[in-house]
């Protein structure tokens, strides 16, 4: 490979573009978060007051706990189901395996707005879910109107859209396990269950961790699904942090507090991004 300015010239349009559109705004927001800003009018310098508001607001504090539940339970469900499916598909070959992957990936390919809307219709009082519940002898449930069931519905839809993604990544990990290792295990008399626990699972650690980090990021930042499915309600039952962020900005037009909250969310993201980059060895 030769040292050449041409490389820098080829790369710089993309770097400049990313810096201008994605990176500089982050610094701009840190600046705004130190000011009082309503309706896009930059007011007085207030120091850390917006951050104090973020950490003392009851709304924001309650939304943090909901966010963590939604993020981690959603993640757990996707990873478990994704791993099960990956194990199953791994034993299938050719076209069958392909069709199964396609079917499982569908929710990830359609938009979150459409996915959430379709489920909203199914969860409706007169919808398919209540019909099935009645058929098997249960009472109707107002899924999205009840503060206890609405978070369950939100978690379900979030896990639903990521199962396929988890499966594809874990399947790729499974495929990279050398056949000899499995055979060696079988020769040594390990049954399928032990082969899975002692040979496959340890080798799947990296793909499962990488998938988990991506899904954590994606669930933690998901605003489309709560927006369409529940709108944060009923009450504040599904008011995840991103809904609160959206409201601070585009319902209360309190951009100072919204910027401070964005910065907090960004710090969590950067933590996850760092883990991700250390795990996935991108090399040039």
């Amino acid at each position: 490979m030769k040292a050449n300015k041409l490389g820098a010239i080829l790369v710089s349009p993309s770097i400049l573009f990313l810096a201008v559109i994605l990176i500089i705004p982050l610094f701009y927001t840190i600046y705004i978060s130190l000011y009082d800003m309503r309706y896009l009018q930059l007011g007085d310098f207030v120091g850390l007051k917006n951050y104090i508001k973020v950490f003392t607001s009851d709304d924001i504090r309650s939304s943090i706990s909901i966010t963590f539940i939604v993020t981690f339970v959603g993640l757990f469900l996707s990873i478990i189901t994704g791993t099960l499916l990956a194990l199953w598909i791994n034993s299938k070959k050719g076209f069958t395996a392909y069709i199964i992957q396609i079917v499982v990936l569908i929710p990830w390919v359609i938009s979150m707005v459409v996915g959430a809307l379709l489920w909203k219709w199914i969860f409706n009082n007169l919808g398919l879910l209540n019909y099935v519940l009645n058929l098997i002898g249960f009472q109707s449930v107002d899924v999205l109107g009840n503060p206890r069931t609405a978070p369950v519905a939100l978690i379900f839809v979030i896990a639903w859209r990521t199962v396929g993604f988890a499966m594809v990544l874990i399947l790729a990990g499974l495929k990279s396990i050398p056949k000899e290792l499995e055979e060696a295990g079988q020769v040594d008399g390990a049954n399928k269950w032990r082969t899975f626990w002692l040979i496959k699972l340890p080798l799947l650690k990296t793909p499962i961790m990488v998938t988990s980090i991506i899904l954590m990021l994606s669930n933690f930042n998901n605003v489309d699904v709560p927006m369409v499915l529940t709108g944060g309600g009923p009450g504040d039952a599904t008011n995840v942090i991103t809904m609160e962020l959206y409201k601070q900005g585009f319902v209360y037009f309190n951009f100072g507090v919204a910027s401070a909250l964005s910065f907090v969310v960004l710090m969590v993201n950067i933590l996850l991004i760092t883990l991700y980059i250390r795990m996935v060895k991108y090399e040039i």
Binding site: L6, L85, I122, L128, W160, L169, N222, D224
Partner: protein, 285 residues
């Protein structure tokens, strides 16, 4: 399983039953919402709210489709196609230059520049931390609510992944090919867009597919950046119908069913590419 005869053990059959049931449930849970939505979209309003739901005994009607398309839905569809095409062209143009630069040359600050790109891949997954920054910054630049607002953002969000995917394509082309081309006197620019692009078609197609899905399915940025109905993309239109039609599930499901057609078509034909792109982009470890 059955052909294995004596090896058909209890634990083996239990495991295959669990896996089969899991898969059965996933198929139902993945396909049924879409079929149910499509079915609702072709039912008359009175049939939709008939309880218990009519499964097959209804008369199909296209009234909801006619209603939304008369109400300007087609415009939002065309807007979205424009946003996708613009982002794909811009993204592939920048992406192939950067991928080639990163793969074939050494230059100052190469590492930090590359890590910036890598950092932006997960950064754009966590997009909700970016909505306020992007909004305030675009409004500072007076870039809000313009025809180019969304293409710029969609390109920026999907470019890092595109560079990574295209770079994996460029890697497979031997260096001798560029050397032969430069000796022949073909200009570098012609080489990149004429020869290299043709040689890494699969990688470019995979990158285009990701940009397409990202741009077609994006909602939250468009909801804060775009005000005028003439510029609305399709997902934003569906969200606004939710407020406008309220409990009228006919037009809502009609809009939703139409919006998934492009994704499903693209996915059915290029699914294999999507799956390989996904795994290349994330678990290259």
């Amino acid at each position: 399983m059955r052909s294995k005869g004596l090896q058909f053990t209890f634990s083996g059959s239990l495991k295959s039953i669990i896996l089969f049931v899991t898969f059965g449930l996933v198929v139902i849970v993945n396909i049924v919402p879409i079929l149910w939505g499509v079915k609702t979209s072709i039912m008359s309003p009175s049939d939709i709210f008939f309880y218990p739901p009519k499964l097959f005994n209804f008369e199909a009607t296209f009234e909801h489709y006619i209603r939304i398309f008369n109400g300007g839905y087609l415009r939002t569809f065309l807007n979205s196609i424009f946003y996708c095409v613009a982002s794909i062209i811009f993204g592939l143009f920048l992406g192939i230059l950067a991928a080639y630069g990163f793969d074939r040359f050494l230059f100052r600050f190469k590492k930090p520049m590359f890590y910036l790109v890598v950092f932006c891949i997960p950064l754009s997954i966590g997009s909700s931390a970016l909505i306020i920054p992007n909004y305030l910054y675009m409004s500072e630049l007076s870039f809000l609510n313009e025809w180019y607002t969304l293409p710029i953002l969609y390109t920026a969000y999907n470019l890092p992944m595109a560079i990574w995917i295209i770079k994996s394509g460029v890697e497979t082309i031997p260096v001798e090919v560029d050397e032969a081309a430069t000796i022949d006197g073909a200009s570098r620019f012609y080489f990149i867009f004429g020869m290299l692009a043709v040689l890494c078609r699969p990688a470019l197609a995979a990158a285009a597919l990701f940009i397409f899905l990202g741009a077609w399915n994006e909602f939250i940025l468009s909801s804060i950046m775009i005000n005028s109905p003439d510029l609305r993309p399709v997902q934003l239109a569906i969200y606004q119908y939710l407020g406008f039609f309220g409990q009228e599930w006919g037009p809502l499901t009609a809009a939703a069913s139409t919006a998934i057609i492009p994704s499903i078509i693209v996915f059915t034909f290029l699914g294999r590419m999507l799956i390989s792109g996904l795994t290349a982009g994330s678990v290259k470890s």
